[in-house]
Symmetry: C2
Subunit: 552 residues, 2 copies
């Protein structure tokens, strides 16, 4: 008997499931029910069409119901909204939103891929024609129409996550002044604040006004013109704007699942097992609507990302057709372009490690994206978090102009494979001057972390500077020229590393020496020298450059 498979939601996870199911079985009846007007569109490309970088709107429509029917013999019904699931009798209630006709479909297997919807905070006045969120093609069309018709000179983006940042950049492409309001003290929550501080500089350099640690409290449409909003923030600030983008986050679409009595997890996503099966054995769920397990902690997480959604959709189809397979947890590897910078991360960040009370150590490396002597090299700033007892990789973050995706991908693979920081030292990575260095940024991070693990180097962090005592000397080992140009950390004395051997008399051996240089390399040389001579020494990981980021 051939199976009848209904799939609710026709974007990443749903479309993947449908295509894989068909490839596994030619006779199954497969129906996709999609509330919106499109299936399988390039969700992640929406801001780039708004910016104009992706010229053709059609480029975003990866599949149409017709093309999907032809290729996979799948019955795709767009603008068909599922109203309810009767899981006991295995059928669903559907409404065609064009004709308003209601009907039912039975199923053998149901796959839920409803996605996540933008969270719209309950702010007074927020429902108006100048306020938009961005989840799908109609949202995009509406924003573009608003720009086209109203020609706003100023726009406000509420939320500094992926979509918020991409929208801020897209609006700047139209030469629109942009104010970015973010409740947290930083944009881009997946990275820690010192890494985000590089983004703050980049955003301001591109004339995005930042209002960090602020929340939108009230929105009022100016009735005369109908083209201006007056915004009030929680600190009382008021300003006018002509376009408001709400991008404060997404929440799993669980209304159908909840109504049907499927189990919902503690984070508000549909609960599934490692085969993507919900609490009902005939119903699977995939994509942004579900909770998966965090790769590092094994705890529930929400990961609204395209890669996992596609993998989960395929996996559900495999399981439905008899494979035993299990989803391999989520690291949350992600990247975002922010004007000239890329910022990426994998695994856990320091904020999360602190919140969970997990033991961790961190090292920073600032090194060139490729051999410094070959033109076009840019610094890569990498933060590596690891377990100080085992060397296990807990997470990594990187920011820079070039080669950011590569470094985080490498660490993501290493983490997934269970490699430790010791292994990062020895990774054999592509090297020729245009592409890398004989000792890549990732190798360097592995070397520094391994030194720390083995006790070859004791490190300290910016945080320790607040409590240095008279018994401690803060030693800057950069050149005089660097110190003159960039300044020193207050309280430091300067002895360049290359003059250290002849200036030892200046360092009281009874005191603890806290060394730093520009990025940490010369600090390490100095720390080793002094350690070998019997001093008690710590080196500041990431050096002055990290200090500048932390104290921005």
């Amino acid at each position: 008997m051939s199976k009848k498979i209904l799939i609710i939601g026709g974007v990443a996870g749903g479309a993947s499931a449908a295509a894989r199911a068909r490839r596994l079985d030619e006779t199954a009846e497969i129906i996709i029910l999609e509330r919106g007007p499109h299936i399988s569109f390039a969700n992640c490309g929406l801001p780039y069409h708004i910016s104009g970088e992706i010229e053709l709107r059609e480029a975003l429509l990866l599949q149409t119901p017709e093309s999907f029917k032809k290729r996979f013999n799948v019955d795709v019904r767009v603008q068909n909204e599922v109203l309810a699931i009767n899981k006991e009798e295995k059928f669903i209630h559907i409404q065609n939103t064009l004709t308003n006709e209601k009907y039912t479909e039975t199923y053998d297997v149901l796959i839920l891929s409803p996605g996540a919807s933008p969270f719209i905070p309950p702010i007074s006045g927020i429902n108006n024609h100048l306020t938009h969120s961005l989840r799908n093609i109609p949202d995009m069309d509406a924003i573009m129409a608003s720009i086209e018709q109203n020609k706003p000179l100023h726009a406000t983006v509420c939320g500094g996550g992926f979509i918020g940042l991409e929208m801020a950049e897209a609006l700047r492409h139209h030469k629109i002044d942009v104010t970015l309001v973010e409740l947290a003290p930083q944009v881009m929550a997946p990275v820690d604040i010192e890494i985000a501080n590089m983004l703050h500089d980049e955003l301001e350099a591109h004339h995005v006004e930042l209002k960090l640690g602020k929340a939108l409290k009230e929105v009022a449409l100016c009735e005369e013109t109908d083209r201006t909003l007056s915004l009030t923030l929680n600190d009382g600030t008021q300003f006018q704007t002509e376009l408001l983008i709400i991008a404060v986050g997404v929440k799993p679409e669980t209304s159908l699942a909840m109504k049907a009595g499927l189990e919902i997890g503690e984070l508000g996503g549909i609960r599934v097992d490692e085969s993507m099966r919900t609490s009902d054995p005939s119903i699977f769920a995939v994509g942004d609507a579900i909770e998966t397990l965090d790769f590092v902690t094994g705890q529930a997480m929400l990961a609204p990302l395209a890669g996992p959604a596609n993998r989960q959709g395929r996996l559900a189809a495999n399981v439905i057709f008899g494979t035993t397979e299990s989803y391999k947890k989520t690291q949350g590897t992600a990247i975002c372009k922010v004007f000239g910078l890329a910022v990426a991360s994998t695994g856990l960040n320091e904020k999360t490690l602190m919140r969970k009370g997990m033991a961790y150590e961190k090292v920073y490396v600032h090194a060139a994206s490729h051999a410094g002597y070959y033109p076009g090299a840019h610094p890569v700033t990498l933060k590596l978090l690891f377990n100080p007892y085992t060397g296990a990789i807990l997470g990594a973050q990187a920011v820079g102009k070039e080669g950011i995706d590569k470094r985080i991908d490498i660490i993501s693979v290493a983490q997934r494979a269970g490699l430790s920081v010791f292994d990062l030292q020895d990774l054999e990575l592509c090297y020729a001057p245009p592409f890398g260095s004989a000792r890549d940024v990732v190798n360097q991070a592995g070397l520094v972390a391994s030194n720390v693990m083995k006790g070859d180097e004791f490190i300290f962090h910016t945080e320790s500077l607040n409590c240095l005592s008279e018994q401690q000397i803060l030693l800057d080992v950069r050149t005089e020229a660097e110190v003159d140009k960039m300044g020193m950390i207050p309280g430091a004395i300067n002895i360049p590393v290359d003059e250290l051997r002849s200036n030892l008399f200046k360092l009281d051996q009874s005191k603890d020496i806290f060394v730093y240089c520009q990025v940490g390399v010369r600090g390490h040389v100095a720390a080793r020298l002094l350690t070998n001579l019997g001093y008690t020494v710590k080196n500041m990981t990431g050096g002055f450059k990290t200090w500048k980021l932390v104290t921005r």
Copy 2:
């Protein structure tokens, strides 16, 4: 008692060993003896200074004897050639090549890092002032002086490896016509010929004349002008050239080691154990002069690469100061820029697997470097070799304009970590439209290979096309437009994949179906469809695009 460490050779491995040794011990006496005039120079940057891309010659001089002395208190003696090692009495004979003074130095530990020297084939007439090899700064200076003084209109590069290709490009930067002579039927030996064929196209597009499968047999200096060479190849071809670069490979510098009676391996490199120790317990050797073990086969290999050299130098110092550490074998990960393309590889290639009689399967993926709808995406061609019984990764090769280093790095890490092709499917890689795809090239290669492993797809290769019988149908499932534009493989019939279901009557079920499309994806869809309907089907991995590369 503090140790006295002598290091012969002051570039990658030697300099790394010296710096690490000093960081581990402040009291050791460390002397570097370097035959040439420079230490720690950017070997890999030489062709790019010749091309003019690296403007300043000084940019290549990473350290000077003075800077190294100041930083690391290491006594660096350039232009000091070691003549012999007396390993019984632990001293070496040295000659200062400037003063011709001879002297000896004793050692507690000796580290050999003499590198590899260009192999100069014994060709009649090859010793002349217009013929150069490129290993160090003086070689580079000589080539640049020759270009400057003689203003050659035509140059010949003998050898299509890394240096040969980089030199061909460098010479084209000077608008010099270039002929490249290579004994093998392909350039870039680390990759297989179909991958190299993309380089052949790129080289010819940039007006490098290729003479593949040809050897230089005779060189004659034109006595009148003293500025022209007459070259004769082994097929009798003769042509004139004004500059000849010999870049046919390097051989380990083992003369000192051999004279001292140290063990030499079967491939002609110094034999060391996993701690970098030679057959004499007080002598270590690192870098291009040694044999290491191949990561895949565990057999001896020569890997003249900067990354391994640096790691080995550091490791030797660690061992000398008491750490138990072992070198983790060599994958040979490498990359080369060839005009607008990058080509990279890790692990074993197909040629080597065949030669060694090892079981392997291969898949090809041609996919966009990042989301196809975002501007600037270029195809990445990836060849993945794996063990057909275990799924172990044996090797990978990639070529394209963008993102080549990243893909090979990812696979290199996966291979080193012992991941299989199944794991490649699920790697969580950075995705945003400017950087990748929700299903990256590497994920795709993992999916295809896993399908093959699980029997979800039977594949065939171009090689099989030569022996198709009447019992077999070759089915092209591309669109008519593609077929019209690009042609078909001889003997094929065309039914576009989207019209397959309505044209099944054209396919005799008693025959075997060999399917192909442009890159393999639609072929897979068609193959699954037909398989599910009871046909016996194979899909051509990499499709028509691979066929074009193989049959170039």
